[in-house]
Amino acid sequence: MARGTGLTNAPGVWDWDALVQDDRVHRLLYTDPAIFDAEMSSVFGGTWTYVAHESQIPSNNDFITTRLGLRPIIVLRDRDGVTRALFNRCTHRGATVCRQAQGSARVFQCAYHGWTFFNTGELSGVPWPDGYATDLKDEQYNLAQVPRLETYRGFIFATLNAGAVPLTEHLGPMTEIIDQWLDRHPGGRVKLCEANRLKYKGNWKLAYDNAADGYHVKFSHRSLLEMENRLKEGDEKGMSFYKDAPDEAPMYVQYLGNGNHFKDKRPNVEDRPGALWDIEGAHPGMEHFESSIRQRLGDRAEIALDLAASEPVNINIFPNLLILGNHIQVLQPQAVDETDSTWYGTAVIDEEDTLEGAVEEVNTLRMRTMESFPNFGEVDDATNFEEIQRGLAAEEDPWVYMHRGLGIPGRVKTDDRGLITAPATDEVFMRETYRYYKELMADPPTLEIRRAP
């Protein structure tokens, strides 16, 4: 007897062309719990979704627990080194089988009745199996797992959408931008470290809408801009290039398809070693470590100091991975009006010793430069996200506008690869992202799990 999987989404009950228009979207996208529920399958898991970084599970049997949408999952390297994302959900009666944030384990034993699973997902045994008439070797008793897991240069993505194109194809031109971000580091790699962890009472898309938004900076971050320059003669530190006429600055925003976008502020900065360090804001130990690194490296010191400084880019991979500065920010929806935003720090790895022993000092500085924005910038954005969520309670005034730049001749340019480029304050990246979002929501993909190890 065939039993249904229950995995296919119900056909859409919303009129997506009415909810997502060329210049605006409806408040329900941010406030309707039913739309949120649909996103948790159509978007999170429906498309390639970031779940972990390889450096979090460096050895066989290492695991972390996280979520794919709301599904609790264990991302691990199994006993043979295969990367998997197991559902953290006992096949007996549903308890989580792993309750630690991270660790190393060959098996997971459910704490409720003791069913035990190998880290391949396979059921290894149950207490007193004689009590079962069914064959416990049947695949249906293995932990469910995400059928498709692919990694791009350390970033592990998962999808339950069997029809999804391969990850690199999905990322498309985004891979080149990820490459550039990684390749400024020795060995082309970074290691995740501890995080600044923030939460706001607002929809997850408010943070994604903000990710390439060059329009808000001068206003939302006014206190940070003033603070960063309080000890200086002229305004030159940090994000000062937003202050006067950000549209005229050489920085730009770009849409690269499938909800992914990129804000590139590097053209504002001189293209020379030491230029990033020169605009880095004050931070603990700055002057001491700078002189120590200069003594050690001489005229190569700028290369090391630039690694401690923040890279002026926002690389946003829909729906939940935002690589910005030296951070890897991950969005985790909790509810329609609650989102966790975790800003993982990254450390430089220097196995070849290209920094001639300076890597520890570089990382020490880098920890301090990374603490700045979550402390003095993101808290103000998060407050604005919460205030949007409050504002959107006004039912009769439902529209959220994102038409900055729309219809101005020559402002938004599309190149022969289809990449769309506009001034940094343009909202074209939002309009295009919602076009992709609408496709996912209007035509929900078929989701599948796998139980074969």
Partner: protein
């Protein structure tokens, strides 16, 4: 020897040795045989911490800064044991200049996360001073709960502090304040107040 640079303007004292000492000073310091039982010292520490709590609850941030030494640290680790700040980010790790930055930002009139400002009430208790290898330096453990009300909603922060204090002619000054939030490794909503 040249006079040391002004720590409000440049950060020369946060060195590798400073971090190394910090990690040592804040590891395994709560030994029973170092606990100070003498009533006058315990009372002085309790009064000092209550005063500090009042300065923060009443938003007297500039007066609060004056409780610290020039070369000071305000540290809110992001992991329960504090770890080594050279290798991990913290919720906050402010030297003198960054601590002044923090207060400056709150005073700009544009720190939206604190407009309106949080109203807070801190309860400080279980104050236990411990002797260190240096005569005039104490470590003090205290527990706290911090009720915060802002923008129509309340939240509760709780945890314990470690203060590294130096005796002065008139009382104490803070060398390091370490705030250990119970939920330091969890996602925090609007962590924009000074804890």
């Amino acid at each position: 020897m040249a006079s040391s640079p002004d720590p409000s303007r440049s950060s020369h004292y946060v060195t590798d040795a400073y971090y190394a000492d910090l990690v040592v000073d804040f590891t395994d310091w709560q030994a029973d045989d170092r606990l100070i039982t003498e009533a006058a010292t315990r009372e002085a520490c309790r009064a000092f911490l209550e005063h500090e709590a009042r300065l923060l609850d009443t938003h007297r941030f500039e007066d609060w800064l004056r409780q610290f030494t020039g070369e000071c640290l305000y540290w809110v680790p992001a992991t329960p044991r504090g770890g080594d700040p050279r290798r991990e980010v913290a919720v906050c790790l402010d030297d003198r200049r960054r601590l002044e930055d923090r207060v400056y930002r709150l005073r700009t009139g544009a720190a939206w996360s604190q407009l309106p400002a949080s109203r807070t009430a801190r309860l400080v208790s279980n104050v236990e001073p411990f002797a260190t290898a240096t005569d005039d330096i104490l470590m003090v453990r205290s527990n706290f709960t911090l009720h915060e009300f802002r923008a129509g909603e309340s939240q509760l922060l709780a945890g314990w502090c470690a203060h590294r204090l130096r005796r002065t002619a008139s009382g104490f000054e803070i060398l390091v304040k370490q705030v250990n939030l119970l939920n330091c490794d969890q996602n925090l909503r609007n962590p924009s107040i000074i804890i």
